[in-house]
């Protein structure tokens, strides 16, 4: 019996020792949460390259729908669960979460070349001068139009046309009998859907979300002019059911050849010029967003970025991954493997300086111009207290923006007037700001 116990003990000790040794040498595993889009999927495919270069790290991927990702990531971060080591967040979250101490600052030391990152993008992802998320790809908004249709209508589109001119072109191109609509714009309610577009448009009409005392300004004449113009334009020359269209719906319409113009995210340029998914790939022209009274804030600025939650247990490995995925070398790698038209854009100056990229991407110049002209810290004609072009980077904005989006979508579908919509949106925003203690 004694001998048996002794043997058992010896085995147990040696197994435990072996297991401890194994776990000491086993790889660190990091979990990356991301949205499903082309660039992110590409990153997932290229991960083995990272793992090869960093043998001690294994990467696990969680791809989620955007809304679910936001919810999961917020839950994870607010509860400190540490479920994710790297998370894909946007320009809206990065400064807010950075300020709250929810994110670790991005390690930009050594050969990361932080100065190469486009200044407006770096600014939008920073709080108090510290970058809390590394940009994976960035975007602004611009006009994409059908060169053939515009030319046939005897019209012309240039950078920074006036909204009146855009309306004239839409009228000239509009031909519903042939299934072609003058202009396609976002109408689906949501702070990141119709309100991203609407805010940029309103900025160019001289509007702002809040005055210097954080009082909502939705009932001002600038907002009324902008929203009335938008509703009128889409009602006359837009496709039917515009109030339920967002990026993907408009992309489908444009690629099918049903839109004369489309003003949306610059990332769309790579889709509409891709013959594999667009019927009009060789007929698309690009121009800078239109404006009304000011060019300030006329086109938005957004970036999908990789952030590291403060609660992660694998900070070192997570930093290594983030640095790799947002580096110049990664962009080179994608260029070599998949062609230069497929590289993630809108993040680094060096990408736009690369002759191979310039040759492959017909939209490169227009995109860079749009991104560089957007300044999140100065996007309104009248002074405003917030950062962000198509949003205000305060936690309350999600709810305020979504309510306003629902009202404006309602005005577009004809269930209420523009005045009613803006009044309700303003009242709701006022209540939320009051409750949050801004005044």
């Amino acid at each position: 019996m004694k001998r048996l116990t002794k043997n058992t003990l010896t085995y147990a000790v040696s197994i435990t020792a072996a297991m401890t040794a194994a776990s000491a040498f086993s790889a660190t595993q990091i979990t990356v949460a991301t949205v499903n889009n082309g660039h992110m999927i590409e990153m997932q495919k290229l991960t083995p390259e990272f793992e090869k270069a960093n043998p001690g790290i294994k990467v696990k991927w969680v791809t989620l729908e955007e809304g679910v990702l936001r919810q999961n990531v917020t839950q994870d971060i607010a509860n400190g669960s540490g479920l994710y080591d790297v998370m894909t967040i946007g320009m809206y979250e990065a400064p807010i979460w950075g300020e709250r101490g929810w994110l670790q600052a991005v390690d930009t030391s050594g050969n990361y070349d932080e100065k190469d990152i486009l200044p407006s993008i770096r600014g939008g992802l920073s709080y108090d001068g510290t970058m809390y998320a590394a940009p994976f790809y960035g975007e602004s908004s611009m006009v994409m139009y059908r060169k053939d249709l515009v030319k046939a209508a005897g019209m012309e589109i240039n950078d920074r046309d006036s909204w009146e001119h855009i309306s004239d072109v839409a009228a000239a191109v509009n031909n519903p009998d042939e299934g072609i609509y003058g202009i396609c714009l976002r109408g689906k309610a949501g702070w990141g859907d119709n309100m991203a577009f609407m805010t940029a448009m309103a900025n160019s009409f001289g509007a702002r979300w809040f005055d210097e005392n954080w009082k909502p300004q939705l009932e001002t004449s600038e907002w009324k002019d902008a929203v009335s113009f938008y509703v009128d334009l889409l009602t006359k020359y837009g496709p039917p059911g515009s109030s339920s269209n967002s990026f993907n719906e408009n992309l489908a319409l444009f690629n099918e050849g049903k839109c004369g113009m489309w003003i949306d995210a610059t990332i769309a340029a790579s889709f509409v010029t891709d013959p594999k998914q667009s019927k009009v790939a060789d007929k698309v022209g690009f121009a800078q967003s239109p404006y009304s009274v000011t060019e300030k804030g006329a086109n938005w600025l957004w970036a999908w970025a990789l952030g590291i939650p403060a609660a992660t247990k694998n900070a070192e490995a997570a930093q290594k991954f983030v640095r790799w995925a947002t580096s110049k070398e990664y962009i080179q790698l994608v260029g070599q493997k998949n062609g230069w038209a497929a590289v993630p854009t809108g993040t680094r100056t060096s990408t736009y300086e690369n002759p191979k990229f310039q040759k492959a991407a017909v939209f490169a110049d227009a995109e860079l111009k749009a991104i560089n002209s957007a300044d999140p810290t100065d996007s309104t004609l009248k002074p405003s207290p917030y950062v962000g072009v198509q949003f205000a980077a305060i936690p309350e904005f999600q709810a305020i923006g979504t309510t306003a989006g629902q009202m404006i979508s309602g005005a577009l579908s004809g269930s209420m007037t523009v005045d009613q919509a803006l009044k309700s949106a303003n009242t709701s925003a006022d209540r939320q700001m009051r409750q949050a203690g801004y005044y």
Partner: protein, 276 residues
């Protein structure tokens, strides 16, 4: 019109109506199935095309990008696991409530059902925090527990209504022959209720298989079932309908096939009483 003709017409009309309803119900699934064989451009084309050159590309992409078998295994473990546990709890519960009802049995049953009326999101935060504290986030154990609790009221109700219709005399006869309560359940009630139990189990499995709210909120990668895999194909920027349809077809396939095989039990359980 003779009585015979009237009867014939009635049969034809009923058949026509049934077919229409069945086709309307089946159409979305059919559309999803054929969309999964289209290219992204064909998937968005207006008017939609019924005849096209089918491609298996979407299935290839889904297979390349997601570990289908991993997700499918998680779905199997969570839905079958939770259904078995729920049945182990529900059968004795329904038995005692059906054959030995107390003063408050009806209230207990109603109370159990009332828990289903609470929107799931109402308890998301406490359950999330509990899972975090017990280290159950992204684990199949958490999903099995939640699914068991989620379906328990329905299973108890279904079995209760079925057991209630069993003639008490059969049990009395068994008791006269010296059967213990255990024998009564195992040797009398269960063999008489195979149809009801299988249809209840199948319903529970289907409900677990399709459950998305808790799966998406409590899992990340290790325990993510097929519903989480489908959700990963929705895209904020880019066309994804064909790929999403392929992922959905792959996710639905096992349960549809399983349901097909169990059709007999399902129909029997749902339409026949105990002794008729």
């Amino acid at each position: 019109m003779t009585l015979n003709q009237q009867r014939k017409l009635k049969t034809i009309l009923t058949g026509l109506f049934a077919w229409t309803v069945a086709l309307v119900l089946f159409f979305p699934i059919f559309w999803m199935f054929i969309t999964s064989f289209k290219t992204e451009l064909q998937a968005i084309s207006v008017p939609p095309s019924l005849f096209f050159e089918p491609t298996l590309d979407n299935f290839r992409i889904v297979q390349e990008r997601s570990d289908y078998l991993h997700h499918a295994w998680n779905s199997v473990v969570t839905s079958f696991g939770s259904t078995i546990i729920a049945l182990i709890i529900a059968i004795p519960a329904a038995y005692s409530m059906a054959f030995f009802p107390g003063k408050r049995t009806k209230d207990i049953l109603l109370w159990m059902l009332s828990t289903k009326m609470l929107p799931a999101v109402g308890v998301l935060v406490p359950i999330y925090i509990l899972c975090r504290n017990y280290g159950l986030l992204d684990s199949k154990t958490a999903l099995v527990i939640i699914f068991t609790l989620m379906n328990l009221p329905i299973i108890v109700w279904m079995l209760f209504s079925y057991f209630k219709d069993l003639p008490k005399e059969i049990l009395e006869a068994a008791r006269m022959d010296g059967a213990t309560p255990w024998d009564e359940v195992v040797k009398v009630v269960l063999p008489l209720s195979v149809g009801a139990i299988s249809s209840t189990a199948l319903l529970s499995i289907v409900l677990c298989w399709n459950e998305a709210f808790w799966s998406l909120n409590l899992t990340a990668s290790d325990a993510a079932p097929l519903t989480a895999m489908i959700a990963s194909y929705s895209s904020p920027e880019g066309l994804f309908w064909a790929k999403l349809s392929a992922a959905s077809t792959l996710a639905c396939a096992p349960i549809v096939i399983f349901g097909w095989f169990c059709q007999k039990q399902l129909v029997q359980g749902l339409t026949f009483g105990a002794v008729k």
